[in-house]
């Protein structure tokens, strides 16, 4: 075995420049795939962290997954009803206090209840459609990310005397309103009240910044003429990954639709999966190309060393010995390439992590951003695993060919 290794090393060393090129090919493949994986996983994690941060982990609304069974269906054993008018239920989450209390007993995390309704803001002769969220400020602050996005004021300011409202900064701009301005809020039921702006937030999400408003829960209930009604419970879990499980359990217990953040952002998460597939394809292609480099050098060596093969076989080396010899040469190139590739990958990651850029647009002057990189030993292991497999295959094919060589043909050819 040591003898085979020695022969392999001599063969490789005998082709210095080609060996360097093959090793560099593998190294670049490994290096780029490591850097790419770090970047991809880093941005993915960053993206998901932002999702998880800005959204409620589970949102419970007063809708149901399937329409309620109607009393007529319970009463008559008919197969199908035509023209049945559904019974009008009381809207909102029924018996909210009990529901909230039962959730509080087991949900691992914090929760806030609210009433969400639509309305129109009227100010200076302009009407802007908004969604009105009725909240309890002190609880909301622990659940919502908006609490951290205030440009001016805060949720707590809602509790000061009078009717107060918190709006997105874009909305305020569109209306030409500012802190302290009193705007008119009109609800679908026709109720109209004046609210004083006591806070402005900027989430960075345009849709929210220009159409979301927060008032006290009590005020929202008055505006929509639904005293004590709740139609929205938001959960912020200690472990965001537990959201789907918690949501299922909530649905089982309350019967209301509970949407985990993964479901709410399904299309985005799917896009991430597609992105990963694209990445692995590209990385695989790079390493495949590197494999061709190895194939090339090993088969050149087998051709050049045909005489050595004949000598060794005539001395009594077996086919398996010869196969192993060239397989080892391929793997050695793969390993050397991996090792250099680790270094390249590490340096690339370091270089990328130094890149700074400013987010254009928005004009908010958000701070300088760096590329999010995720450092994982797995990337290194997977990349070199890939490289070794392709090196092994690339070495094995010419090795098999070489092992089959008949020494007599070569000895004859030499004479």
């Amino acid at each position: 075995m040591r003898l085979i290794l020695e022969l392999a090393l001599i063969h490789i060393a005998g082709r210095g420049r080609q060996t360097m090129v093959a090793i560099l090919g593998v190294a670049l493949g490994v290096g780029f795939s490591i850097a790419m994986a770090a970047l991809m996983q880093g941005t993915e994690k960053d993206f998901i962290a932002q999702l998880v941060d800005t959204m409620p982990h589970v949102q419970i609304s007063d809708e149901r997954r399937t329409p309620r069974r109607q009393p007529a269906e319970e009463l008559f054993p008919a197969v199908q009803f035509e023209g049945l008018r559904p019974k009008e239920d009381r809207r909102g989450i029924l018996n909210p206090a009990a529901a909230f209390a039962s959730l509080q007993s087991w949900v691992p995390g914090r929760m806030a209840q609210g009433l969400r309704t639509q309305g129109v803001v009227r100010y200076a002769g302009r009407d802007v459609g908004v969604s009105i969220v009725g909240i309890e400020p002190e609880i909301e602050a622990t659940v919502s990310s908006v609490a951290g996005d205030f440009v001016q004021g805060s949720f707590d300011a809602l509790q000061a005397g009078g009717n107060n409202i918190v709006v997105g900064d874009t909305l305020a701009q569109r209306l030409g309103a500012s802190m302290g301005t009193t705007i008119q809020l009109v609800s679908p039921t026709g109720q109209s009240r004046g609210f004083k702006i006591v806070g402005q937030f900027h989430t960075g999400n345009n849709a929210r910044d220009e159409s979301e408003t927060y008032v006290l829960l009590k005020n929202a209930q008055i505006l929509s003429e639904r005293p004590n009604a709740i139609n929205d419970i938001r959960l912020r879990l200690d472990d965001p990954e537990a959201a789907p499980r918690v949501a299922r359990q909530v649905e089982a217990e309350l019967g209301y639709k509970a949407v985990p953040w993964q479901e709410a952002n399904e299309s985005l998460l799917e896009a991430l999966v597609v992105r990963n597939v694209v990445m692995y394809t590209v990385v695989g292609a790079i390493l495949l190309v590197a494999g061709f480099g190895i194939y090339n050098i090993i088969s050149t060596i087998t051709h050049e060393k045909a005489r050595d093969i004949a000598i060794l076989k005539s001395l009594g080396f077996t086919q398996a010995n010869m196969r192993r010899l060239f397989l080892i040469e391929g793997l050695a190139l793969g390993m050397a390439g991996s090792a250099v590739g680790w270094l390249i990958g590490f340096l690339l990651c370091f270089a990328l992590s130094q890149v700074e850029f400013k987010l254009s647009g928005a004009g908010v002057g958000r701070e300088l951003t760096r590329l999010p990189l995720f450092w994982s030993l797995w990337h290194y292991a997977i990349a070199s695993g890939f490289a070794l497999v392709s090196a092994g295959v690339a070495g094995y094919l010419p090795a098999r060919q070489a092992a089959r060589l008949n020494p007599v043909d070569i000895i004859r050819g030499a004479t």
Binding site: L3, I10, I311, S314, L315, F317, T318, Q319, R412
Partner: protein
């Protein structure tokens, strides 16, 4: 006299559109301590016969026994093992590994066989080379040696695993007459002093004339097989 090589109706046909018969129905027996020269015009199949006897090639028909063992049913790996342990080869071109030193080239078959500890391999290789007059050249690479010296290294390598039979394919074919003479003397001493059996293919009639036994081939057939009695005295 024990028969080391027993060939029985060996025929080797190269499969092609027009099949070429290299060796035609050759039967012969080679015993211990024999120095056999196989002669014949070029293309007469003398090298092909040697490759068959050396287990490098398989006959199309006929059987071959090496030291009493029938080789026709053995697989390639077993044949390789037999070559390694019971046969030594010397080719026209030395066929040494160019990257290995002279000493390492001679050690190679021993390392492959793996029967001796490393230090003994070294001593044995060095001893063989010294016996063949190469004491000062152990660490040189083959391309630093003359043709005759290389061929002597090849002989040392053939002896590495102490085989019974040394097969030589035109061992003096690419040498000048002085070096030829040296190599011939060495081969003859293998028989006389070390008790080996040597089978050498040669077209050099002068060398053939000094062998113990001459087998003459024409068109793959043995046309004469004569022993020279006085040479054994």
């Amino acid at each position: 006299m024990n028969a080391l090589i027993e060939a029985d109706h060996l025929t080797r046909i190269l499969p092609a559109i027009v099949p070429v018969t290299l060796v035609r129905d050759v039967s012969l027996t080679v015993g211990e301590r024999e120095f056999v020269a196989i002669t014949g015009p070029s293309g007469s199949g003398k090298s092909s016969l040697l490759y068959l006897l050396g287990l490098l090639d398989r006959p199309t028909s006929g059987t071959l026994k090496i030291a009493g063992q029938d080789t026709s049913q053995l697989d390639d790996d077993t044949l390789a093992r037999l070559r390694l342990e019971s046969l030594g080869f010397v080719f026209q071109f030395h066929f040494l590994l160019p990257e290995f030193s002279v000493l390492k080239n001679v050690e190679l078959p021993m390392r492959k066989a793996g029967r001796l500890p490393a230090s003994q391999m070294r001593d044995r290789a060095a001893g063989l080379l010294e016996d063949l007059g190469l004491a000062g050249h152990l660490d040189k690479t083959p391309d630093q040696l003359s043709g005759g010296q290389r061929q002597r290294v090849a002989v040392a390598r053939a002896l590495a695993n102490d085989p019974h039979v040394v097969l030589a394919d035109e061992p003096t074919g690419s040498l000048d007459s002085k070096s030829s003479d040296q190599v011939f003397t060495i081969l003859r001493d293998l028989v006389r002093k070390r008790g080996k059996t040597v089978v050498a293919v040669t077209h050099d009639m002068e060398i053939a004339a000094r062998a113990d036994r001459r087998i003459h081939l024409v068109d793959g057939k043995v046309v004469s097989d004569e022993r020279v009695a006085q040479a054994r005295a």
